[in-house]
Amino acid sequence: MANLGRLDWYDIARNTNWQPTYVQEDELFPPQMSGSMGIPLPEWESYDEPYKQTYPEYVKIQREKDAGAYSVKAALERSNMFENADPGWLSVLKAHFGAIARAEYSASTAEARMARFGKAPGMRNMATMGMLDEIRHGQIQLYFPHEYCPKDRQFDWAHKAYDTNEWAILASRHMFDDMMTTRGAVDTALMLTFAFETGFTNMQFLGLAADAAEAGDWTFSNLISSVQTDESRHAQIGAPLVAILIKNGKKAEAQKMVDIGIWRAWKLFSVLTGPMMDYYTPLEHRKQSFKEFMEEWIVTQFERSLIDLGLDKPWFWDQFLEELNYQHHGMHLGVWYWRSTVWWNPAAGVSPEERTWLEEKYPGWNATWGTNWDVITDNLLAGKRELSYPETLPVVCNMCQLPINATPGPTWKVRDFPLDYKGRTYHFCSEGCQWCFEQEPERYKDHLSLIDRFLAGMVQPMNLAGGLQYMALAPGEIGDDAHNYAWVEKIRAARQKAAA
């Protein structure tokens, strides 16, 4: 072979900055779109991406990856995974695809923003590949669930969800739009690729892949591990920027963006990933608890990469660690309780054996969350299912758009963090969400939460039916208990046995 090695010409391919003269530099790279913070062009040219890939390598490797993922899918299409799967596992799939697929596609817009407006040429090339990656993730995560459409109407939501005002999608859009599609290239790189993709997508794609493998869903396990291999490349777009920002006296700005990104990602994960891992995934297939996954991927690994880059632990770190013990339990209780407002069937996950597991992983669970489930369980045992549905609306946070909740029981200390800004009172679930708002109130000021919309009369009629209509949820798609309350009968049997 007489071909050059990749590194022989790699640097030339990323040496593409020039000094514009027919337009001003700030016209070519508007500060608002590039997020350049006044750092001059040559400084950005020191950008050095740690994961180097060329175009020919990209198309070759990606072709091979797709060949792998699609052939596993084809090979297993006639398996009875779907028919044999625990309904809780199908709920994981439904929630995942609905919340993730089109958000991934939207991330291609974010990558394109970096490819156009990034001032570091290496970053523009990396983001060009990142843009393609995110198209892959949108497309493959639509193609795979599509085959389930004829089996279950809720799978329509893998595509439909983002066209609606369903509350979990409202929360997802607010979070993703905040960190990836409404900011300049540098901010996007720090928040999306560094804070979110370096830390959190590992959780969703590797943690969940482990559970999927345990559950025998090789197609899904293979799919999301393959997705993660792309993430681990383009997630590295952000880190080299941190060095440039610190060198140019912008550490505080970098820290702030990373902190906002982590906090916002955490809240969304507490409502989606937490319940999937600790309640929906069948007990025997749970690899680790959500908290254990979080501690491994976020607390240990991500914290280390923050420090290695010269950043600090976020100011809210202690609060975040504390929330790992409880936040997702409250989110899960809420999702199950308001189960008719989601496009999947939440698994209660509170059979006697599951409660034992929860108590083991989260000591004190029975004395706190367990007491709420006791009431629900007793009502169901007494045949009063109607009492297991809500009659009111939750108070939701004006940042994360999620219900404000805290640990029930003797230590109950739920609190609202209200804030008055320009004549409107905002409600936040936490200091973290309030802090995000205060960093740039104008970004969020006139956004209306679902509850705000309800109170403003935008949801008609003002009842559950009107709410469901507003969220585009109809019978046939609205959620109910994943196991059709079979777990209640297990509890009845256990209690009868104990009584006898």
Binding site: A2, N3, L4, W9, A13, N15, T16, W18, Q19, P20, T21, Y22, V23, M33, T54, Y55, P56, V59, K60, R63, D66, Y70, R102, Y105, S106, S108, A112, A115, R116, P121, R124, N125, A127, M129, M131, L132, I135, G138, Q139, L142, Y143, C149, P150, D152, R153, F155, D156, K160, D178, T181, T182, R183, E442, Y444, K445, D446, H447, P475, G476, E477
Partner: protein, 328 residues
């Protein structure tokens, strides 16, 4: 009591279910995937007036280019991500096979030193030019109003990155044979100051700040890219063949295959926009605005291109022929 309808499972996504035809993989994964185009909503779900929302409202939603259903657009090639990689991995295998074969035959050593100087001045600086096309295509990707359009723009950006990568490869390789021609060193200076490049640099710098998405699309895909393809790829490729540089001729021929595909989706999109009154006028106005700059760029570049008679005239005519084919 009225029966409450319970929705039944469908064979495909509900938004595609009304059609009779079974949807293709392309349609399943490509149609109506953007969520920032929901009717009556701010593009992004934050404050409706946050700067990025204003940007989209002004430069996308209020563009003179209008259509009632942008999601009706279909890429004539129906490329999806995985077929794009199959296609281009095959092309890259071909190109790197060429690089290998020509290197083994010591192709560069047989090149005339004067031609090597021409390559240093007119060919290797193309990495800047191709990169601006990459950036401009990425802008169209982020601003266009339907996912079937954004996909085409994304692949076009990637193809521009492909062309730039070929140039980078050849820059290094040529530097190994011709140490005195400034390969890998002087490209930026040529791009910034050489008269042959100033037309294209002016065109690209101005194009990159054409924020209206419709204008950006027309200026790039109807005017600028054809100018680059006809002058820089085709005419430089012809000059190469006349100077014993078979490799460059074969390389640009291959890149032109990408360009032909780009013109296919461009043609289909223009055709769709012509369904609505007012668009033809807007497109013509933009062409009138950008054509003189593109012509100037072609003139400057072709004036420096040796041994291709009527290069500028032919290149300009070819860009017009393409635009004429759009039946505006």
């Amino acid at each position: 009591m009225s029966e409450i309808e319970v929705l039944k499972p469908l064979k495909t996504w509900s938004h595609l279910a009304k059609r009779r035809r079974k949807p293709s993989e392309y349609e399943i994964v490509s149609v109506n995937i953007l969520y920032n185009t929901r009717k009556g909503c701010a593009p992004y779900d934050l404050d409706p007036e946050v700067a990025m929302n204003r940007w989209y409202k002004q430069y996308r939603d209020a563009s003179p280019l209008q259509h009632d259903d942008w999601n009706a657009f279909r890429d004539p090639d129906e490329l999806v991500y995985r077929t794009y990689n199959m296609l281009q991995d095959g092309q890259e295998t071909y190109i790197h096979g060429l690089f290998n074969q020509f290197n083994e035959r010591e192709h560069d050593k047989a090149l005339d030193s004067k031609w090597a100087g021409t390559l240093a001045r007119l060919y290797t600086p193309t990495r800047y030019l191709f990169h601006t096309v990459q950036m401009a295509s990425a802008y169209i990707q982020q601003m266009s109003p339907a996912s079937t359009i954004t996909n085409c723009a994304a692949f076009q950006a990637a193809d521009s990155f492909r062309w730039l990568s070929h140039t980078a490869y050849r820059t290094k390789e040529l530097s190994l044979t011709f140490a005195d021609k400034g390969f890998g060193v002087d490209e930026c200076a040529y791009w910034e100051t050489d008269p042959a490049w100033q037309g294209f640099r002016e065109l690209m710098e101005k194009l990159l700040i054409a924020w209206d998405w419709g204008e950006a699309f027309v200026a790039l895909n109807l005017v600028t890219k054809p100018a680059i393809e006809e002058a820089v790829l085709r005419k430089l490729g012809e000059a190469a063949r006349h100077n014993g540089d078979t490799l460059l001729g074969m390389l640009t021929d291959n890149q032109l295959m990408d360009a032909v595909r780009h013109r296919r989706w461009t043609t289909a999109l223009v055709k769709m926009t012509l369904e609505k009154e007012g668009n033809a006028a807007a497109i013509k106005q933009w062409i009138a605005k950008w054509e003189p700059l593109a012509d100037k760029a072609i003139d400057a570049f072709c004036a420096a291109t040796p041994e291709v008679p009527d290069a500028a005239h032919d290149a300009k005519q070819a860009t017009r022929d393409f635009r004429l084919s759009l039946a505006l």
